[in-house]
């Protein structure tokens, strides 16, 4: 038996269209997705009609403040919605629903976007669908890659989770006990005064490609979970000792033991990535064994990191029929289309939010969402 996804289709219309709005962190994204009637499958794929994004950019060395991020979103949201409608060549009357990120994320940016969603929903008489940001990543990743029932590694600026589906929930098998991996990478980027654009850890990744000496760092897997703040504090201190600008301190020099060459900032980026990604591979592998799966889907902004994908691939190749799935930056990095897609799945099973039920929440766990559209 499969879930009937067509009982909410407009009469005489062969498809659904959803507008999705995302603004839980520093990316503002608006997308429009099309589902043809019937089950989604390799011959009936969701169609991306538009996927527009604008990022709040901070100067190197600065994190994004909620206030300025919210300001970015509210000053751009109407323009970006309009651009998505233009690119998708879609009228308001073509749409079935408006989907928005209800959480988790930063409070002020989430709130500034839901205001636009609520207004447009009433102006055009369209139902609202609140979407869990993590579920957006998972469902978009499954749709784009065709991974049917993978263990999901969700790695971004705000989240680090290993997730597996069972019994209409995406259950969290392991997660970070403190900071998210993208946050860890971004904060180290700030220490090195390199920019955080375009994705969490992107510039760390570029520098790491030139690194070759491994600096010893703590390895902190705790059961199925992991901890990263201690590693960050450790490498921050090394970086400050080596390259700090404080005048009274004479910078130390650190020498690679094997080659006798000095340790560079590239080496630090390389070492940080190696230790963090090894930890992720370890807990993902354990989740695979636990649920007896051989597919891994990597989603979230850090998921576009090629070294992470490569390390995960080495692990999965040792498993029978092991498969790794990842998406490119259009879908990995926060975007509106994933919100439109997951929201539309929800809408197709009759789930909408009335206005009073559209309050955004900074904490919204992945396993709180009832996955009505799957029954496997």
């Amino acid at each position: 038996m499969t879930v009937d996804l067509d009982q909410y289709a407009k009469p005489g219309k062969g498809y659904y269209l959803a507008l999705g709005l995302e603004g839980s962190a520093n990316k503002l994204g608006v997308g429009i997705i099309k589902h043809h009637l019937g089950q989604l499958s390799s011959t009936n794929r969701a169609e991306v009609l538009s996927n527009v994004r604008d990022t709040y950019i901070t100067p190197p060395g600065e994190g994004f403040l909620p206030r300025d991020t919210a300001r970015h979103h509210r000053n751009w949201v109407v323009r970006i919605i309009k651009k998505a409608l233009v690119e998708g060549n879609v009228r308001g009357t073509d749409l079935d629903c408006i989907c928005f990120t209800q959480g988790p994320g930063m409070g002020a940016p989430l709130q500034s976007v839901v205001i636009a969603a609520r207004t447009l929903s009433q102006l055009w008489n369209l139902p609202l669908v609140g979407v869990n940001h993590c579920i957006g990543h998972i469902e978009m990743g499954r749709e784009i890659t065709g991974a049917h029932n993978p263990v999901v590694l969700y790695v971004s600026g705000g989240n680090t989770q290993v997730i597996a589906y069972s019994d209409q929930r995406y259950r969290i098998f392991g997660e970070t006990l403190d900071i998210a991996i993208g946050n860890c990478l971004d904060r180290f980027a700030r220490t090195l005064m390199i920019p955080n654009e375009p994705a969490p850890g992107y510039n760390i990744e570029q520098m790491a490609k030139k690194g070759k000496h491994l600096v010893s760092l703590p390895y902190t897997v705790k059961g199925m979970d992991l901890s990263m703040s201690g590693i960050l504090a450790n490498i921050d201190q090394i970086a400050k000792d080596l390259f700090g600008k404080a005048k009274q301190v004479k910078n130390k020099q650190l020498i690679d033991e094997e080659t006798g060459e000095p340790i560079t900032s590239e080496d630090l980026c390389f070492s940080l990535q190696e230790v963090l990604f090894s930890m992720l591979v370890e807990i993902t592998e354990r989740a695979l064994a636990h649920v007896n799966s051989n597919q891994v889907l990597i989603v979230g902004g850090v998921g576009s990191n090629e070294r992470l994908q490569e390390m995960m691939k080495l692990m999965i190749q040792d498993r029978k029929n092991g498969q790794i799935y990842a998406t490119d930056e259009r879908f990995c990095i926060d975007n509106g289309i994933m919100i439109a897609h997951a929201g539309l799945l929800s809408y197709r099973t009759g789930q909408t939010n009335d206005l009073w039920n559209t309050v955004c929440t900074q904490r919204f766990r992945t396993d709180e969402v009832f996955i009505k559209w799957r029954d496997d």
Partner: protein, 106 residues
């Protein structure tokens, strides 16, 4: 009923309500009190997130006028907060100064 946005303020030390209206000046959507944080500008960042300009419509005009009212209210309240803080510091200083006198007499 007014055709412009207004704000009316009241407080225990204010005998008559204070009304803020847009006034006759030119109104824009780029408010003085809704700029990007100084921290960003000081770190060498630029503001590429200014609001869209008001369209030449009634709603465009309303949005610009409301921005002016927002500036007036924000600046008025910030000034009052500053003054209250100064008054408080004065009182604290007087009390502390008295305290110093006592210490001296020991």
């Amino acid at each position: 009923m007014s055709s412009v946005p207004t704000a009316t303020y009241g407080a225990p030390d204010v005998s008559e309500p204070i009304v803020f209206e847009p006034g006759q000046q030119i109104h824009t959507t780029n408010g003085r009190t809704t700029q990007i944080s100084d921290i960003v500008l000081k770190a060498g960042g630029e503001d590429r997130d200014k609001p869209t300009e008001a369209k030449d419509t009634a709603l465009g005009q309303l949005r610009a006028q409301l921005t002016t009212v927002q500036d007036k209210v924000n600046e008025f309240l910030t000034e009052r907060m500053k003054k209250e803080k100064e008054d408080k510091t004065d009182v604290e200083r007087r009390i502390l100064d008295d305290g110093v006198d006592e210490d001296d007499s020991d």
